[in-house]
Symmetry: C2
Subunit: 407 residues, 2 copies
């Protein structure tokens, strides 16, 4: 067995190598169906062969390395694409750690086939898709996505076909051969750093609602309109933004965010006539989330009514909470406890992951690795080499445990 302290530097170096595959010089931008992503995929294909895996591309451009065995398949992996101006580790770390695990068990007989997936589109940064890469494995590619266009007007189907994919081959049945899916990912939040632990296990991926709330009053002259005669859209919105924070704080495990504000007409000397704000609410428990959102709807209406301001609520999208597999999660927590010597935190992931799609067809488990300052989707993303070593060790332990059990 190779000591983790020797594997982790290789993993970090490979993430660095991948970071140089980018659409934008000086930034890390690697979106779906771009030459930059193809270059990253080529690097990973080479490393797959080194790990004893046979690489193949599927219709959507996912790179999957397989070690053949009869019976079911254990899938490890994550995604290779990034947001615009993203970091080195979100996605990439999970792919490269999976390769390290495959190398670790390369000389060992396994009672199942092993696959490492490098998904082609998780972030949806180019076509605003949701887990397009892993959706193919779940038989869930939305055919309407094919007509989507990027900012340059390029159709998704055309981009995919020009990139070596097959837009006519996306309507496939879900995979039924999987015995489980394990994904390692940076936490993207501050919980592990605060708890001073290298890794944590994910119990569920939060359900989410996105809405746009528009407050409409009357634009008026800031100098000549007495306070009592105003229908100020922004003060109504501001009261409600405070309520979003308060409800978020009062509800354990809830995160509630207003990230966008558009004020019209938006001049210093004009009382705002309209204020459109975004809402993002997430929680592990869908009922808790629904109750919080209903409360926020009522509070928006009240904040408007107090000022003669009309409130229109437009829900943009909603996704249900996805639980990780309880048995796989318990095993993962057991392995993490053995490796770290402490009981590791159990978290709800506020961000979505490819595990959301894989959960439709197989038990999923997720391991989070501590990241610096909780920062992700940013060039400042950072992980400690030691924590990466722990991540490899935990994931490898789980694979070895599953192998022992099945033999």
């Amino acid at each position: 067995m190779i000591a983790p302290m020797l594997e982790a530097p290789t993993v970090l170096q490979r993430c660095e190598d991948l970071a140089r595959c980018t659409e934008e010089p000086g930034r890390i931008t690697r979106r779906f169906a771009t030459p930059a992503l193809a270059r990253a995929r080529d690097l990973v294909a080479g490393w797959m062969r080194e790990a004893g895996l046979e690489p193949r591309l599927d219709a959507v451009g996912n790179l999957i390395g397989r070690r053949e065995e009869s019976g079911q398949t254990l899938l490890l992996g994550s995604h290779l694409d990034t947001v615009r101006d993203g970091g080195r580790y979100d996605g990439a770390l999970g792919v490269i750690v999976a390769l390290a695990v495959a190398e670790r068990v390369a000389q060992r007989e396994l009672p199942f086939a092993l696959e490492v997936a490098a998904f082609a589109d998780e972030e949806g940064a180019r076509f605003d898709t949701a887990f397009l890469g892993s959706a193919l494995l779940a038989g869930c590619v939305n055919s309407r996505w094919l007509e989507r266009r990027d900012r340059d007007g390029v159709r998704l189907a055309d981009a995919l076909d020009a990139w070596g994919g097959d837009s006519s081959g996306l309507d496939v049945p879900p995979r039924r051969d999987l015995l489980g899916y394990l994904e390692v990912h940076i936490e993207q939040g501050p919980v592990l750093e605060e708890a001073d632990v290298a890794v944590g296990v994910v119990e569920s991926i939060a359900g989410q609602i996105r809405a746009s709330v528009t407050f409409t009053g009357t634009a008026a002259h800031a100098g000549t309109t007495p306070m009592g005669a105003r229908r100020d859209a922004l003060t109504a919105a501001a009261e409600w933004i405070g309520a979003v924070e308060r409800v978020g704080r009062e509800t354990a495990g809830l995160v509630a965010t207003v990230g966008e504000v558009e004020v019209e007409p938006g001049a210093a000397n004009v009382v705002p006539g309209s204020a459109a704000v975004s809402l993002d609410v997430r929680h592990a428990d869908d009922d808790t989330r629904h109750a919080a959102v209903e409360r926020l709807r009522a509070l928006a209406t009240a904040a408007g009514a107090a000022r003669g301001v009309e409130v229109v609520w437009a829900q943009a999208h909603e996704t249900a909470s996805v639980p990780c597999d309880p048995r796989l999660t318990a095993r993962l927590a057991g392995c993490a406890g053995t490796v770290t010597g402490v009981e590791v935190p159990r978290l709800c992931s506020g961000a979505g992951h490819d595990a959301v799609m894989l959960a439709k067809v197989t038990p999923v488990g997720m391991l989070f690795v501590r990241c610096a300052g909780g920062i992700s989707h940013h060039p400042a993303e950072a992980v400690a080499e030691e924590d990466v070593g722990v991540g490899i060790e935990v994931a490898a332990s789980l694979v070895e445990e599953l192998a022992r059990e099945r033999v």
Copy 2:
């Protein structure tokens, strides 16, 4: 004497004629040193001659019509320029009513010279100047304004010289021959409409402070950053926007407004890292305004401190309150009471006017005419013909009263 009911339709028709002098078809946009403003000025020059006034242009392009008499000069007037996409009456009404008054007294001997001014730049919509037209009469043109450039990169001095003005002739002494300045203007607010009175007299023009307040926290993932770990710049700003409204409501006569909000990075799924908001505070009494602004500064700091958010306060500009002349205002109120049969409201003007500049060199009086819905700086600006008749009658009464007294 011509009955006001006959003069008012002419005034409204002339405002309509001026509205057709515009830089932008379908809108009313008549900014400083534009061909549109020159066309409007030509129309007014013709009407000046009909009213027995001799028109002249000064160095900044103000059009001034004069009826000669030895001794001092009574000045009536307002401005001819508009904001972009403005209304028919802000400024123009005061010029045309002044002409109606000049016509009314045309056959009558006066013990003073009479001038009607059509100022070339009150709104500052092109070069962000402050009362450039009337500043010339007060000897207060800021020489640094000459280097300002409009959106197309044109220097103010070049625009003025190309338009028939004289940028080398703006450094002149203040006029010392004025016995008073009277300006009629639409109210731009809802007070007269609510009081159900055609006109009101202005006691003072509010002092004003403009500031930009920037809240800086840390941008973070909206899904993965627990509420307790956030430094949300927008929730801090929102708490403070509520405080601005509250302080405005609690302080009699104060108006306090946040009209602009810029959130960074401004994405629905990112906790805002910064929020920059504008502040506009006005009051007739400078001490009251200062006290309110100090309170708001402390509240901004507190809203930031509660969230680990830094607050930077940048004051953009401040103007002191300008009182109208008490004796002229009392006379104007007396005339208005006689014409309307009621005691008319005494208002503080929240908007600035050319009277701010003229007050530096002569006693000023202002009469507000009720406008529909308090709307100004908008194509929907509207005044009632009957109210315009009352405005003419009150202004003419004052001129006649001043004439009787001086004879």
